[in-house]
Amino acid sequence: MRSLFISMMALLMACAPKTAPQAAANATPVTLAMSHVEMDSGRVVQVPERMADHLTRALTKNGYQSTLLAVEDYPGELQARTKAPHRALFLAKARGSNTLFVLVEAKALFYSQLRGQNRWVVSVEATAVSDHSIENAIVERFEVPVFLRYNHEREPEALATAGPTIAQRVSRMVQDARALAEGS
C-alpha cells in the first residue's frame, strides 16, 4: 500500500505543470548567434526555434542571460571571413558589446534510410569569444546523428531534433569560455 502511495505521488508530481527556468538577477550576459547553412542553396538562415530554445534554456539553467542575434542582423561583410573564430570576432565587434559572444553554425546532411528511420547528421561548429580577443576564442566542432520518422522531414527537423545534444555541448563550451575569460 505504501509503495502504491509513493508511486501515485511520484506520478502526480511528474504531471505537475513545469515552468521554464528563469535567469537569475546576477546572470552572466551572453550573446548568441545561431545560423543554419542550407545544403541546397548555401543560404545562411535562422535555426529552427526549437533548436534555439534548447540552448537558451540550457544557458539560463547554468546562470546565463542570453540574447539571440537574428541572422538578418549579420553584417554583409561577414561572408568574407572564412574561419569561424574570425566570423565570431567580427560579429562580436560589430555588436559592440563586451559580453561573451557565442556563434553556432550548423548544417544537416541526409545520411540514409536505416531500418525504418531516416538518419541525418547535423554538423556543428561552435565558437565562443570574449573580450574581443581571438586568443580567448574556443572552437568546438562536432556531429550529431539524428533519426527522423518521416521522409518529408528535412533539414529544419533534423536541426530541431539535434537541439538537446547541441545545447548540452555548447553550454559546456560556454562554461569553459567564461572560465578562460575570468582567468585571463
Binding site: 536505416l114 556531429e143 546523428p145 533519426f147 521522409n151
Partner: protein
C-alpha cells in the same frame, strides 16, 4: 565474410581514403526467458505488432566521403555507403551472433552535381521506401530492395523523383541466377506543408533464354497437385509405363512481374502528428523449379506456369497522436493483406490467405526519461484453401473436410487463426519523450491468446503417435517477460 574483410582492407588501403568516415546503425537485443517452452517471442510474427514478436537484430552502416558535399556548391561530390546487418547477437538467440547470420546488405556509391543539377546518382544496391509502419516494422512502399543497378534521384522542395534500373537476379534466385531486369520509378509530391503523396512502381522481367536451365521454363503435363505432392514423375510413369526416359522436357518461356505502391501522408493538425497510409499491389515473380526423385533418378520440375498467378494486396495505415504534449502519446496502426494464387486452389499456403490486424500503443511520460508503455493488438488470419491451423492438441496434421486423411492437403482443424496480445511495462528513454525516440531500455510483460494451440516458436513434440515420449500440451495463453534495448545510432 572473408570477401567483406578483403573489401574493407582494400578500401582502407585506397588513396581515396583521404575522406571522412562516419558510422551509424541500429541494434536491438533482449532477453526473454520463456518458462512455457517458447523461444522468447510472444507470437509468430509482427502482424501482432513488432514489440515482443521480433528477435535480436544489428545493423552497422558506414559512410565514407570521398569528395564532401558543400552547401550551395555546384562542385562534384561523392561518397560510399556499406551496411552489414543480420538477426543474431551473441547469447541472445540460437545463432549466438555467428557472423554467418550477417550479410553485406547494402553497398553503393553516390555522386552529385554530375551532368544534372539537383540529381543524386547511385550505383550499387538501390533499396528505397516512402515510409514505415513502425508498430509493425513493415515498409509496404519498399522498391528496389532486390536490385543492383543505377538510380537517379532528383530532389526539390516539393517534388522528389527517383528512377532506377538494374538486375534483381541474384536477390530473387540466388544460386539459380538468371538475369532479371528490374526497373521502376518513385514520385513524391508535397502540394501543401501538411501533406505528402507518393506513387511508385517496379517491374521485373526475366527473358526467355534457350539452353539456360535457370531461365524460366515450364514442365508440360504436370498438375499442381502432383507437383505439390512430389508425384509428377510417378504419376506420369503410371500413365506412360516404361517411358520414364521420355518424361516431358521443360519448355522455355519468360516471366514478368510488377508492383505498384502508393502513399498518402498528412498531419500536423491538432493532436495528429502524422498519418501514413500505404498501399501495395503486387504480382509476384514465379518460382524456378523443384526436384523429384523417382526410380533412382532426379527430375527437375519447372514451375513458371504453376506459380505465375500470385498476387498480393497490402494496405497499412499508422497514425501518431500527441494526446497530451510531453505526457501521453498514442500510435494506432492497421494492416490488411490479401494473397491469392490462382494456380493453387487445393492446398493452404502463404500465397492464399487474408489477414488483418490492428495495433495500438500508448506511451505515458512520468518524467522525460521514465515512461510507461501499454500496447494491445488484435489479428485474424484466414486461409483460403481450407484448414491451416491446429486449434487442439489432438488436431490431426493432415485432413480433408475435417476427416483424418494421410493424403489430405490441409493441416489441423481450422482455417482461421485469431490472436490477441497485450503488452505493458516501463521504458527508460535517456533522450526524452517520444514513442520512436531511442535508445529505449524496456522492462515488459506480454501476454498472448491465440485460437491456435501453442502459437509461438517452440520445440514441442507435437506428434500424436502413441510412442511420443514427451506428451502433448494444450495451451492458448502465452506469457513473456522481456528485458530489452533498442537504439538507432
Amino acid at each position: 565474410m572473408n570477401r567483406l574483410l578483403i573489401l574493407g582492407l582494400c578500401l582502407a588501403a585506397s588513396p581515396a581514403m583521404a575522406g571522412e568516415e562516419d558510422v551509424g546503425g541500429y541494434l536491438r537485443v533482449m532477453t526473454r526467458p520463456d518458462f512455457q517452452g517458447g523461444d522468447g517471442r510472444l507470437g509468430y510474427w509482427n502482424l501482432y505488432g513488432r514489440l515482443l514478436n521480433e528477435g535480436p537484430f544489428v545493423a552497422l552502416e558506414s559512410r565514407l566521403h570521398l569528395l564532401r558535399q558543400e552547401p550551395g556548391s555546384d562542385e562534384v561530390w561523392t561518397r560510399i555507403h556499406g551496411r552489414i546487418e543480420g538477426g543474431s547477437v551473441g547469447n541472445a538467440d540460437m545463432g549466438n551472433g555467428n557472423l554467418s547470420n550477417m550479410r553485406l546488405s547494402q553497398l553503393y556509391v553516390q555522386a552529385g552535381n554530375v551532368v544534372l543539377p539537383d540529381v543524386t546518382w547511385q550505383v550499387g544496391t538501390l533499396q528505397t521506401w516512402m515510409g514505415d509502419l513502425g508498430l509493425y516494422d513493415m515498409r509496404p512502399s519498399t522498391l528496389f530492395d532486390d536490385t543492383v543497378g543505377l538510380s537517379g534521384h532528383w530532389q526539390k522542395d516539393k517534388v522528389d523523383l527517383l528512377i532506377g534500373f538494374g538486375d534483381a537476379g541474384y536477390a530473387r534466385k540466388g544460386m539459380r541466377y538468371n538475369t532479371i531486369f528490374s526497373g521502376g520509378a518513385n514520385l513524391r509530391v508535397r502540394p501543401i506543408r501538411r501533406m505528402e503523396l507518393g506513387l511508385g512502381t517496379q517491374i521485373w522481367h526475366e527473358p526467355k533464354v534457350v539452353g539456360n536451365r535457370f531461365a524460366p521454363h515450364s514442365t508440360p503435363d504436370v498438375s499442381y497437385e502432383d507437383m505439390l505432392r512430389g508425384e509428377s514423375v510417378q504419376n506420369w510413369s503410371v500413365a506412360n509405363p516404361d517411358q520414364t526416359q521420355n518424361f516431358p522436357d521443360p519448355v522455355p518461356g519468360q516471366a514478368t512481374s510488377w508492383a505498384v505502391v502508393g502513399y498518402v501522408g498528412f498531419g500536423d493538425v491538432g493532436p495528429l502528428v502524422w498519418n501514413s497510409l500505404f498501399v501495395r499491389v503486387q504480382r509476384s515473380h514465379p518460382d524456378s523449379f523443384t526436384t523429384e526423385s523417382f526410380d533412382g533418378e532426379v527430375f527437375d520440375i519447372y514451375l513458371n506456369d504453376l506459380t505465375d498467378e500470385r498476387n498480393v494486396v497490402l494496405i497499412g495505415d499508422e497514425m501518431n497522436l500527441r494526446l497530451i504534449p510531453d505526457k501521453l502519446d498514442m500510435s494506432v496502426a492497421g494492416l490488411y493483406g490479401r494473397h491469392t494464387d490462382a494456380d493453387n486452389t487445393i492446398a493452404p499456403s502463404d500465397h492464399n490467405r487474408t489477414y488483418y490486424s490492428t495495433v495500438t500503443r500508448l506511451q505515458a511520460y512520468a518524467t522525460p526519461q521514465i515512461h510507461f508503455l501499454l500496447e494491445g493488438s488484435l489479428a485474424q488470419e484466414i486461409s483460403h484453401n481450407g484448414n491451416q491451423y491446429r486449434n487442439q492438441v489432438d488436431s490431426v496434421f493432415q485432413n480433408t473436410d475435417g476427416v483424418v486423411d494421410s493424403r489430405g492437403l490441409e493441416i489441423g482443424d481450422s482455417d482461421t487463426r485469431t490472436t490477441v496480445q497485450g503488452k505493458g511495462g516501463v521504458v527508460l528513454n535517456p533522450l526524452g519523450p517520444g514513442i520512436y525516440v531511442r535508445p529505449s531500455l524496456r522492462l515488459l510483460y506480454g501476454v498472448q491468446w491465440s485460437s491456435q494451440n501453442n502459437a509461438f516458436g517452440n520445440s514441442f513434440v507435437e506428434s500424436l503417435d502413441q510412442y511420443n515420449e514427451f506428451g502433448n500440451v494444450e495451451r492458448h495463453l502465452h506469457h513473456v517477460l522481456a528485458l530489452e534495448t533498442e537504439v538507432w545510432f
